[in-house]
Structure formats: C-alpha cells, structure tokens
C-alpha cells in the first residue's frame, strides 16, 4: 500500500499559507510605501548639519532681512542664488566679527575658498525648475519652502515629490498670492477668498489650458 504524501494538516496549512502570504505581501507593500513617503527617505523636516549653523529664524524673523538679500537671482534666474561668502561678510565684517561660529565664513572670505554646504532642496537633475517664473506669477517663498522664519536650522519643508508639484500645477488658485506678497513670510494664502485667488490666476495669465501639466514644461 502507498504511504500518504500529504500530512493530515496539509489542507489547513495550504489555506492558512495562502492567506498569510497575501497579507504579508500587502504588508510589505504598505511598509515600502510608508517608508518612501517618510522623512527617512525624503529628509523632509530633517535639518542637515552645515559648516556654519546658519539660522533663518534669526535672520528672517528677528532681523526681518528680505529673502532677496541673500538669494539674489530668484526674480530673474532659474536658480534662486546661493549667497556667496561676500554676502555674509557684508554684515559680518561689522557684527559678530570675532564669533567662533562664524570663523569658517571669515576664513572662506580671507582665503577665497568656498564654504561647502549640505544641499537641502535638491531636485533630480531631470527636473528643470525655474524660480523666476514662479516668483513672477505669485507663488510665495513660504508656499514651497515652508515657514522658513521658524527654522533655527534649515530643513526641507516638503518632500518635493512630483505629485506635490502637480497638485499645484493642476490648480494654481490653491497656492497663489498677490505678487507684492511673494516675499512676505507671514502672509497666509488662505486669507484671500478662493474666488479672488482664481481671479489672480487669470490676471497673472497663468495657463489653465493644460500647459502646466505638460511633461515638457518641467522635463525639458
């Protein structure tokens, strides 16, 4: 007589295994999605170590220095412009001149060697983002860069996923503000009713015919 190939519990084992593996698969996929949306991967909210502990909170909230004082080319170029050591020294040649925290800045200026910063907002190289058009069309600095005036150390405010960019590109009225408020860090976009924001979209000639969501617009 031939032996039984399958044990007594084989049926139960199979059914439990199928359910367990399916649940495990869903669990793994959910975990991966959660992982890649989390700050562990995106660095959103994570302040990176820098050679000098530059505080936007002090310079923007306390001293009320305009963004453009350091980020010179934001109104006319794709890059907002990272300040040269000379920009720091234009004030710090006169204030805090012996502070040890600023020694790297003074050395950089004296020796003409660049300060090496850790980049916070780094888009992939196939994304061609242009600051000047956003600033010109009424997208405020704090809309994308968060409440920078509360950050003692700078961190990414948004994960910069394409879906997040598309959210605004599909409906700019959600994030638009009057052009003269673009550099106002305390401005609340919601303070203007939606109808007026939609009017701003029309006034500033922001295209609503689909050009904003065309691949070529950003992936030239």
């Amino acid at each position: 007589m031939s032996a039984q190939i399958f044990s007594r519990n084989a049926n139960a084992n199979l059914r439990v295994s199928v359910i367990a593996i399916t649940l495990l698969l869903f669990g793994i996929i959910a975990a991966l999605i959660g992982l890649y949306l989390s700050p562990w991967y995106t660095d959103a909210g994570v302040a990176k170590a820098q050679p000098v502990p530059f505080s936007h909170k002090h310079h923007v909230a306390d001293l009320k220095i305009d963004c453009r004082y350091c980020h010179n080319t934001v109104e006319r170029a794709a890059t907002a412009g990272f300040p040269a050591t000379e920009t720091c020294m234009s004030c710090h040649s006169q204030v805090w001149t012996t502070s040890p925290l600023l020694k790297p800045v003074r050395d950089s200026y004296a020796n003409n060697t660049p300060l090496v910063w850790n980049r916070i907002y780094d888009l992939p190289a196939f994304v061609y983002f242009n600051h000047s058009i956003h600033v010109a069309k009424g997208v405020g600095c704090t809309t994308c860069h968060g409440q920078i005036q509360t950050m003692a150390l700078t961190s990414k405010a948004q994960p910069l996923y394409m879906g997040w960019c598309l959210g605004c590109h599909r409906d700019p009225a959600q994030n638009i503000r009057p052009r003269d408020q673009v550099f106002n860090v305390d401005y609340d976009v919601q303070s203007l009713p939606l109808a007026e924001r939609q009017q701003l979209v029309a006034d500033y000639k922001i295209p609503t015919d689909g050009r904003l969501t065309n691949c070529y617009t950003c992936h030239r």
Binding site: K64, Y69, T79, F82, Q94, P114, P124, A125
Partner: protein
C-alpha cells in the same frame, strides 16, 4: 515511455519560467538623479579650487552687462558723477515702487526703512550708518549714490554683483524720494495731508 525524460525537463523549465521577470527589478534606478552635468554651486573635481562655477576671466565682463562710458552702468558721464537718471531709465511710479522694494530688501537692514541710518544691523554693530537726510547728501549728485551702491564705500560692501544696474537706479530714485519725504515743505503737500499736519497728526 520514450518521451518521459524530455517532458520532465521541459516541465521543470516551465515551472521556473517566471524567473526572468525579476529582471524588471533592474528598471528601478536613480542614476539619472545626479547627471554628469553641473548645477549651480556644485563642487567639481575638475577645477583646482573645487568650484564648478567659474569667476569671469580677469578684465572681462559679460556681454551687454557693462560699458565703461555709460552712466547706466557707472553712474558717471565723462568722468563726472551724473546728476540725472541715465536715458535708459524712465522716471515713473513703477521705478519708484521697484526702488522701494529693492531698497527695503537690500539697503534697509543697515540704512533703515526711512534712510535715517537706523537699520537693524546698524543697531547691532559698532556701525554708524550715515543718514540720507543731511544737506551734503541732499545736494549730492545721483551718480554718487549709484557709484556707492555699486562699488561700496568705507565699510560698506558694493552691491554691483547682487543688484542689476536698472534696479540700482531704481534705488537711487527711491533714495531721492526718501530725502524729499523727510525734508518736504508742508505747503507743497496736497490739501488733506496739509490739514493733517496742521492738526498735529
């Protein structure tokens, strides 16, 4: 049966035929995130100083960015500080509005929002910033303000590298407006403003 063995081999191969699908996993790649091209401010191991952005070669300027005999770029006409706005700059409300924006962003930290030298930075350092509201500066040629804004003076750094020439002229025009604001004849005011002055407001 004669065909039993080849059938078993084929059967085994069919069972493992899903393995090549794993090659799809190689499609996940992020090598295009950092391409062999330079973005602004990136480091470079090609150049000795480590910078990818290069300073202009000595004694050169970018095309259409400078002419040595033009008051638009130098503030000087025939070697003398110019007393009028250059012909390329149109004096209108837009110019003054732009001048106010640029002044408040770049100049007000030291010079103060009213141009009286009482900016936040001036308060924090052993720094005495002159006020614009002196006879000497009220009588000074506009080209002087442009020259100082471009090249700096004493402990002030020059801002020629940070502000475009047109914006610097807007600032100059706004400084003149500031000077007028602190030194205006009350009789020259419009009627309702004059009433406020008379009422002591």
């Amino acid at each position: 049966m004669a065909n039993a063995a080849p059938n078993r081999t084929i059967a085994r191969l069919v069972r493992l035929s899903w393995l090549p699908l794993l090659l799809i996993l190689s499609a996940c790649h992020i090598d295009m995130y950092d391409q062999p091209k330079y973005k602004p401010n990136q480091p470079s191991d090609f150049f000795q100083d480590g910078r990818a952005m290069r300073a202009p070669a000595p004694n050169t300027v970018a095309m259409n960015s400078f002419r040595p005999d033009s008051p638009l770029y130098t503030g000087k006409l025939n070697g003398e500080l110019t007393t009028d706005l250059p012909p390329e700059i149109k004096l209108d409300a837009n110019l003054l509005a732009r001048g106010r924006t640029v002044f408040n962003a770049y100049c007000a930290p030291c010079h103060g929002l009213a141009g009286d030298g009482k900016g936040v930075i001036a308060n924090r350092g052993p720094l005495v910033v002159p006020s614009y509201h002196t006879d000497r500066l009220r009588k000074m040629a506009v080209g002087y303000f442009f020259d100082v804004a471009t090249n700096g003076i004493n402990r002030m750094y020059g801002y020629g590298g940070r502000i475009t020439a047109e914006d610097r002229w807007a600032v100059v025009a706004y400084v003149r407006a500031l000077q007028l604001s602190q030194n205006a004849d009350a009789k020259a005011l419009p009627a309702d403003d004059q009433a406020k002055v008379d009422a002591g407001k």
